[in-house]
């Protein structure tokens, strides 16, 4: 083991969170910052030969190698867990930029009441809350976070149309969203046939369609750091790919150009962080294996854990830092409030071709008439809703082949199926939804007792299943999907349209898995305080989607970035001036 010279700040994870914190700290202080990233360096030029559906979208070339490390899953504490052996329900990344390289770019804000959800639900529903609900207030309000949302939107160049500008409703935007201090930095994307048909139908039904906010640039844009990126070219190689022109906001095209010029910043790749070293309520540094397999300890004055969401909780558990959550007693905090999102999809078939290979990860039209607290009155037992949208993300020829309406072929192979698949090819889109996922006492993360990673450390174990509430959310959204599909004059149904049953790891839902090291107002019920500072070790910060006490309906990256920018302010403006607990 080699013990290195101390640095001021050491960060585990070179993704959106770690590199944003490094950028903020090195811009505003003279502190030395070291980022440890387990994967390899990446840059925009690497992606020019990456427009290959097979290797990237179907073989997951940009993702964490599951042979080395995965998670296990079980539906309840009574069952035994098995490994997620191949990719399915979510896709953690690896390499510089993390999952922020292969995301789709959709950049929603969460609804104001989401940040005080426990209080809100108690006020509205009182004792009628479902059994075992573990939702909590975040300890930060929407209004407090709004300036950080705005900074994050400028950083990545979000395009969209405001629906609530300084409290005034603006038609054509999402009229149900929280008040914005500014309109989006960029206009919405261009439209496609599928999105325009959806928009017209939704409007006719009395809903309020808006362009989905996106960080795939709608025009050439220079952000406040002076980083210029070109407008999206709608090639459709976004989600699961790196953008070959840098139009999609990614840490490598957004943060690395700034950081590379900073002498106080260094990035070490191929370095797999395994423990937070700590004693007596103080983090001392990070222990990692470098690219040659040697164990290294990097001492630091400030330690930041910024790995992919759930890995944050795993690192704390492996480091025996804080108390592991026990669902039987409700004691302990690390690992609690594991959430995903309720994903629902209904295939719709058009009478005209869609050119669905054109698109962008965030190109779409959505409605939020059944999102947040809206539109739920007719649906008994549904406490929180979700968005409904048609996205033109750019479909690959392999994954899109074989989408046919129900009853068109008796088999999924052979001459009849082939003929139907060719005839219907490029006519299918999907109405999709992502709904809020409340936290429950029984859904959590801990260390698996059986399965280990490449170094012999326990894998994280996910105990997670849907409840009646999520099934009711799904049923509500599916019902609205069918109504809109009819108004679009499309046929609907088929293989992708199914009711939510038990949680499955086999089908991609989203990479929006959150929680495990949640933020909150008391050390009894949260791992980090509202500044994302660990309650038990004031010089340790645990930052990312891990901090979400429960999940909102929108894609989480923008909220993660807003929390990250606020954590940076906490470190720079408060902690450095008065080291100690900020809450």
């Amino acid at each position: 083991m080699q013990r290195l010279k101390p640095v001021d700040v050491v960060i585990a994870g070179g993704g959106f969170v770690g590199l944003t914190l490094a950028k903020e700290i090195t811009a505003r202080t003279s502190l030395s910052v070291v980022v440890l990233e387990r994967g390899q360096p990446r840059k925009t030029a690497d992606y020019s030969t990456g427009m290959d559906e097979l290797d990237y979208a179907l073989r997951f070339k940009m993702m964490q190698n599951l042979a080395e490390e995965t998670a296990t899953h079980r539906h309840s504490a009574r069952a035994s867990a098995v490994p997620i052996r191949q990719y399915g329900s979510f896709n953690p990344g690896t390499g510089v930029g993390g999952a922020g390289e292969h995301w789709g770019g959709i950049s929603y804000r969460f609804y104001p009441e989401q940040f005080r959800l426990a209080t809100f639900l108690r006020e509205k529903y009182g004792a009628r809350l479902p059994e075992n609900v573990a939702v909590q207030d975040w300890g930060v309000t929407y209004d407090e976070l709004e300036p950080y949302y705005w900074r994050a939107e400028q950083l990545i160049g979000v395009g969209g149309k405001a629906g609530n500008l300084q409290g005034k409703r603006v038609d054509g935007g999402n009229v149900f969203e929280g008040s914005r201090s500014h309109d989006y930095p960029n206009p919405p994307h261009k439209t496609t046939y599928a999105t325009t048909v959806f928009e017209k139908a939704a409007r006719e039904l009395g809903y309020h369609p808006y362009p989905v906010p996106t960080a795939t640039l709608s025009r050439n844009y220079t952000n406040p750091d002076g980083v210029s990126r070109p407008a999206c070219a709608y090639c459709g190689y976004c989600t699961r790919y790196g953008c070959m022109i840098g139009a999609k906001a990614q840490p490598t095209n957004l943060l690395m150009p700034v950081l590379q010029k900073r002498k106080t910043f260094s990035l070490r790749t191929g370095c797999n962080v395994r423990r937070v070293i700590h004693s007596d309520g103080k983090a001392e540094g990070l222990s990692y294996l470098d690219a040659s397999g040697e164990e290294i300890v990097q001492p630091a004055g400030i330690v930041i854990v910024a790995s992919w969401t759930l890995n944050n909780a795993r690192l704390l558990l492996l480091s025996k830092l804080g108390e592991a959550y026990d669902p039987a007693t409700g004691k302990g905090t690390t690992g609690r409030n594991l959430t995903h999102q309720v994903s629902q999809s209904t295939r719709v078939f058009f009478d005209k071709p869609l050119n669905a290979f054109m698109g962008a990860g965030g190109l779409g039209i959505g409605i939020s008439d059944f999102d947040g607290k809206e539109g739920l009155d007719g649906y008994a037992g549904v406490l929180r809703g979700g968005n409904i949208r048609v996205m033109s993300t750019g479909e690959g020829p392999i994954a899109s082949f074989g989408a046919i309406p129900p009853g068109e072929a008796s088999s999924d192979w052979g001459a009849e199926w082939k003929k139907a698949s060719l005839g219907w090819h490029d006519r299918a889109a999907a109405i999709t939804s992502e709904a809020e996922h409340m936290a429950y006492r029984q859904n959590y993360v801990d260390l698996d007792p059986t399965y280990t990673d490449q170094h012999g450390d326990p894998l994280m174990r996910l105990t997670l299943d849907w409840t009646e509430h999520e099934r009711a959310q799904g049923a509500m959204l599916t019902k609205v999907h069918a109504q809109i599909a009819k108004a679009m004059n499309t046929q609907s149904g088929g293989a992708n349209s199914r009711q939510l049953e038990r949680y499955t790891v086999t089908q991609y839902q989203s990479t929006h898995v959150n929680g495990g090291a949640i933020m909150g107002t008391t050390p009894e019920h949260s791992v980090v305080n509202p500044w994302l500072q660990h309650w038990q070790a004031p010089n340790l910060w645990v930052v990312g989607g891990s901090a979400f006490p429960q999940n909102g309906s929108g894609n989480p990256t923008l909220t993660i970035l807003a929390l990250t920018l606020r954590a940076a302010d906490g470190i720079v403006d408060r902690y450095l001036k008065h080291p100690g607990g900020l809450a």
Partner: protein
Amino acid sequence: MKRREFITLPATSLGGVLLYTLAGEPLRLQAQTGDVRVPLRFFTAAEARVVEAACARIFPTDESGPGAKEAGVVVFIDRQLAGPYGKDKYRYTKPPFVESVPEHGYQGKQTPREVYREGIQKLGDFAELPAAEQDQRLRAIERTTFFRILRQHTIEGMFSDPMHGGNAGLIGWQLIGYPGPLMNYRDEIDKAHGQPWRRKPVSLAQVVGRPVTGWEEEKG
């Protein structure tokens, strides 16, 4: 050293075949003549013939257009199995292997290579059978792991970039009107609403102007 095995792809002239296209206009494929002898990396010649025959029933050659045979799907599968995917280099393969609920997916120990070897063996003299009997045999195994990945690989071999060994002559992309991984639709995306935008397809190597290799070529 292992004897080099080959598969000979048939001298198929497709020049006269009318293809359905999404534009609603028939499209003629370029005529292809002459046999192509392709060295195999994983299959024996006998195994390749079985796989080729099975893929040809999954995605047949008929009046709706060419199929797996002309696209060289068997070559695609052979290369996938020879590469890191076939060896499960990117799947979690630590024991214990425990059968679980369907929501946990494939929990087996067998690699894709092993699944194929066993599946092909069970198909026996498949390549020699008439089409109707071949269909019957496939029908009997259509819920097995082997058949599910064979079906998936057939679609992948039809429609993946030709650098992976299938989609020969961009035959699959011509069939569905996919133009290839073009880099810019800024001027087209909001103009072609409801109208088919179709071009003669190009491969990734043609788009970027230099050779590109697939992940299956990775050594080790």
